[in-house]
Symmetry: C2
């Protein structure tokens, strides 16, 4: 089960992570918070959070919840691209 | 950043994962699909999926999306316990 960040992802998975990162960035910017401020607030390093926003990280659901809490956003705000 | 499944989780994290697993189980049962059927459909092993439903796994966001897709559920259906 061990996976590392260099594991091959399908193109669809890459797109999903990029769409997710984009929505996180948009929600953060709409709230007028810098990456650095938000990373600190949510308990991430700045570099890790940058990788989340650029879609390079397949984050865990607990970290996803931390982000929602930090943004005071609902799940659908961030993964609305899943809607049909 | 390497983490394994035996990593200590806080009580709050355990509760979040249990609530998530519960909602996944309820949504699956409401659709009349067995654990085994659903695991196969979504591309998980049965034992891994059982651990998700019992809140033992901190799944990745990509696996969470696979579950939503498999259940044809919206993100808020499954993590509605985050709402205030």
């Amino acid at each position: 089960m061990l996976k590392n960040r260099f594991m091959k992802r399908t193109n669809e998975e890459k797109k999903l992570l990029q769409a997710l990162g984009n929505n996180i960035r948009k929600a953060r910017e709409a709230r007028g918070i810098s990456q650095e401020q938000f990373a600190m607030k949510a308990g991430f390093s700045r570099s890790y959070f940058t990788e989340i926003e650029t879609g390079k990280r397949n984050i865990s659901i607990l970290n996803f919840m931390k982000i929602l809490k930090g943004l005071d956003a609902s799940p659908s705000d961030i993964i609305d691209f899943l809607k049909k």
